[in-house]
Symmetry: D2
Subunit: 324 residues, 4 copies
Amino acid sequence: MPTTSEPTYGGIFDVAQVAHVELLSPDPQGTYDFFTKFLGMFETERHGQSVYLRAYEESYHHSLKITESPKPGLGHVGLRARSPEALQRRVASIETTGLGVGWTDGDLGHGDSYHFRLPSEQNFELFYDVDYYDVPEDQKSKLLNRPQKRPPTGVPVRRIDHCTFTAPDVKATREFLTDHLGFQAREQIVSDDGSVEIGSWMSTSLVVHDLAFTADPAGLPGRFHHVCYWYGIPQHVADAAELLREHGYVVEGGPGKHGLAQGIFLYVFEPGGNRVELYGDAGYLIFDPAWKTIKWKESELDWGAAVYGVVPDTFFTVVTPPVD
Amino acid sequence: MPTTSEPTYGGIFDVAQVAHVELLSPDPQGTYDFFTKFLGMFETERHGQSVYLRAYEESYHHSLKITESPKPGLGHVGLRARSPEALQRRVASIETTGLGVGWTDGDLGHGDSYHFRLPSEQNFELFYDVDYYDVPEDQKSKLLNRPQKRPPTGVPVRRIDHCTFTAPDVKATREFLTDHLGFQAREQIVSDDGSVEIGSWMSTSLVVHDLAFTADPAGLPGRFHHVCYWYGIPQHVADAAELLREHGYVVEGGPGKHGLAQGIFLYVFEPGGNRVELYGDAGYLIFDPAWKTIKWKESELDWGAAVYGVVPDTFFTVVTPPVD
Amino acid sequence: MPTTSEPTYGGIFDVAQVAHVELLSPDPQGTYDFFTKFLGMFETERHGQSVYLRAYEESYHHSLKITESPKPGLGHVGLRARSPEALQRRVASIETTGLGVGWTDGDLGHGDSYHFRLPSEQNFELFYDVDYYDVPEDQKSKLLNRPQKRPPTGVPVRRIDHCTFTAPDVKATREFLTDHLGFQAREQIVSDDGSVEIGSWMSTSLVVHDLAFTADPAGLPGRFHHVCYWYGIPQHVADAAELLREHGYVVEGGPGKHGLAQGIFLYVFEPGGNRVELYGDAGYLIFDPAWKTIKWKESELDWGAAVYGVVPDTFFTVVTPPVD
Amino acid sequence: MPTTSEPTYGGIFDVAQVAHVELLSPDPQGTYDFFTKFLGMFETERHGQSVYLRAYEESYHHSLKITESPKPGLGHVGLRARSPEALQRRVASIETTGLGVGWTDGDLGHGDSYHFRLPSEQNFELFYDVDYYDVPEDQKSKLLNRPQKRPPTGVPVRRIDHCTFTAPDVKATREFLTDHLGFQAREQIVSDDGSVEIGSWMSTSLVVHDLAFTADPAGLPGRFHHVCYWYGIPQHVADAAELLREHGYVVEGGPGKHGLAQGIFLYVFEPGGNRVELYGDAGYLIFDPAWKTIKWKESELDWGAAVYGVVPDTFFTVVTPPVD
């Protein structure tokens, strides 16, 4: 039996989580209905062309901001730092890259925020201070670890899980996230000779991924693949599949189980045109501090894509915004 | 909406996980059959009066050591440090407390190890170097994140999840684990006036607990409540309940859902007399870096104990070893 | 191996199903909200002090009639005959017993109906002609075997499953149902010496029970134990348990699995005070035409009551209407 | 609301069930291992080139006979009549068609049997007397409605559910089964103009189908599509998918949910080359005695084939035995 002889584990523990995502929608009312009537999310505030939503097990002001826009796609991603000092450390590091955009005084729901762009050009921000949502007294749960009662609405999601994007150069984006924000590559897809990084699943904690990137099918920057909300219960993705399809939504694929991250998945398009994943399991957690990035060769993708169920062709081609 | 103004998040990130537990059994063959024939675990090695087992999604040499003994109870718990340096830092800290026992050159499956006793007198060890189990080629899974194929045996568990103990003084043990090993109290049970800490659920990561302690019903030290193995799928605890009871095992309680940690539970006694929990959900994960310990008052335990299902009276009285 | 030598299987195939049940409620609005907001049922009509509801997979006008009343309990049960001729045959048979009440011209949702009382004094009616509910076009499902889309409301039940009552003399009621309506006893509870019939589960098809009777704890006639609605999916009873309890409903017991009929159960009290069961499985189906009634002795009730989960004491004592 | 005015429901109640199926296998050991090691079935007897298996919730001698043969395909299907008189009535009716083959004195597990061929040339037999399997005392379940304990082996199936075949002329076969054996068409696939019957799902009870026929892709007679075993629990088909695929079996499609019959399906090829379905739900039951056959037009098959999940192309082309 081989014995570990890895070097010192240093690590950057400064980014705590994906706190929210902003989706652009040309059909904001349709997008709103999808998330509130069928996925059980709650509106917490509206401002300008945007509406803010949260799920019943989320304690912050929002995890989803829907903003009216001519085209679907990503507005931005909000990351929360682990502490005010952690925030400062990460900003200092990002500023060395030339990818920093600068500080704002925040948005509804959080405080001062540092904006930057990934090498793949998606907009991100990093902040520490957040607003916790004041759940109305009659909606508070007696489950002290759940901010709000489970709503009798749709198949209600519990919390945001992760976001996936495409990138012209996956490796460059992954290295930026690793070097400056502390994300670790947990699983990857690589060309059979190992020379090209085709996809990377990254996290700052023991989940397999908070963020993932795959090669953009058109080689374009700044595009969005999906945001994932979490159930943790396999039956719920089947329930959602049936409910959403009966009510006219386009279920793209699933339920199935990815080999990558062992995630039980459902993919559906919200009416604005963006892909949403619903997650039926915790997948697996990575407790091993000497974890070596798992590398799926392209020729192993039969298993990597799906243990069971089918990942449809559109999954590899449809990204928002669409190419004109 | 209140805004966070927590101080700097420092934190100790040096302990990665509960790597294994040693159970003492007066019926080692019965205990072995229970874990191998019905929970699908594999024997990896035998030595002296001990046998070592692992689950199919575990990569290390073992997560369970069964040792023949006149009485049931805990042998010891093995924690893995995050790095060699982390190990040294923690040992230095423990040595200031007088609770250190000293270094050994390890056991089957891991390298040099530092032994110590908790204030509640359970035996623990801390190490970094581990042996990864060489899965036979024909048993390797094409799922690259799964070391071994799911076995067609019983309702197979996936990995160790957590251990729970009793303590004469929960607060003293919790403070030791927090101060010297970096465990954070995620949820607690306290007396209604808040003056007595009756139970503490602690983790070093975003799971709710790796270790938990509740007040010992007889005020005794060194006792063991249960070890928990993980499925992550609610149906599997129902399957295990039916299978185990039909084959003559004593199912103590469940399936049900604890309010505490939102864990979907099943409790069963292995033939040696120790309680084993089987876990059907990831519960919830704690991404908020400013998480405030949840405190369940005794008068709120109706919800804390169970959202649904029944936690039986024996759960609060039967601990191993039994009082003579 | 023994070979069957049963006599000719004659059998009465004249009763098709339990078509509906009328519940009496002192809190009709509360009862209505329970069934519509949390169990996803639809109002189809109102008349006088009554409201009529159906589930989304039911094609008839209603399966539940809620009628305002000073006390909870059963209004009546509506059985559907297999044909007009079958209806006439059963009425002729009932009329020989002196338990017939007479014909009415029906109720909302069905045609001419013959009323009668069981030996245990519950009110029943038997009819053939039914009204099929005209589902609004935009609510029709593309699943041709489902009348209406699954609603995004609560944890929606699919159809009525069975009704359970208490009786001063279970045997007398069971014999009436067998001799005059063709119900077969599928499972029973009997005293250990076999002399007393304590409970009988009866059906006219391959399900284990459409109707069940157990000994009334107070020796009273005419009382109601529960009506059961069907999910067929085990997770849904856990979902319902959590949702209903969070919203203030009294979950009496479950989720669990009865040994009797192998039903995955949840019991909850609707606000009017009547017990409602939610069923998470088809249990098992009886295809064997020479099926011999299964007889559980009282001393075997540990398994008969529950394979897992707990059937609470109130299950054996609380019946509606309550004793004054 | 329309009122029913159907004519008298006559009906033939003489066939109780599909009691067993004989599969031909060019790899009988592989077929045997598949059913016993991974689907938890038990060998009850061997004779000549055949082995007999049953599932743990089946009370008869066998539901599956595996016979060595150069090619995969159907040996025969065994139907059980409801009574000796019912058997005689059906034989008399079949004899009027010229499709009768004649009486035999039975096989291991059942008594005198009448053999006949369908218009589509599959071999069938009909009998009444059956042998109940004597479960060894230490394997008997305390669940009195379950003959044998759930085995700790694979993902164990509970009972045979249905068989599906192809036919050169679906209508001719369906009419034979309806007129002479009492099967009712519950759902059908028809050409868009309604003139061609492409598939028929038939039962003699309230399940949607005991037998189903679809148009043979090569216009050939006597071919076999699949035999289905039942779990009744959705998670179990996902468990089986993962387990079987990891151990090298070919999972053709699923888990998914057919619109037709609302069956939660998994399709896998056993090593002999025959398709086996595993069923994760009871689908729905037909209690309405005036049920009108549901007719799916070809253009509605998007929903008829799958509510979710994908039915693969091979499902429509691979039938056993293969065309030379």
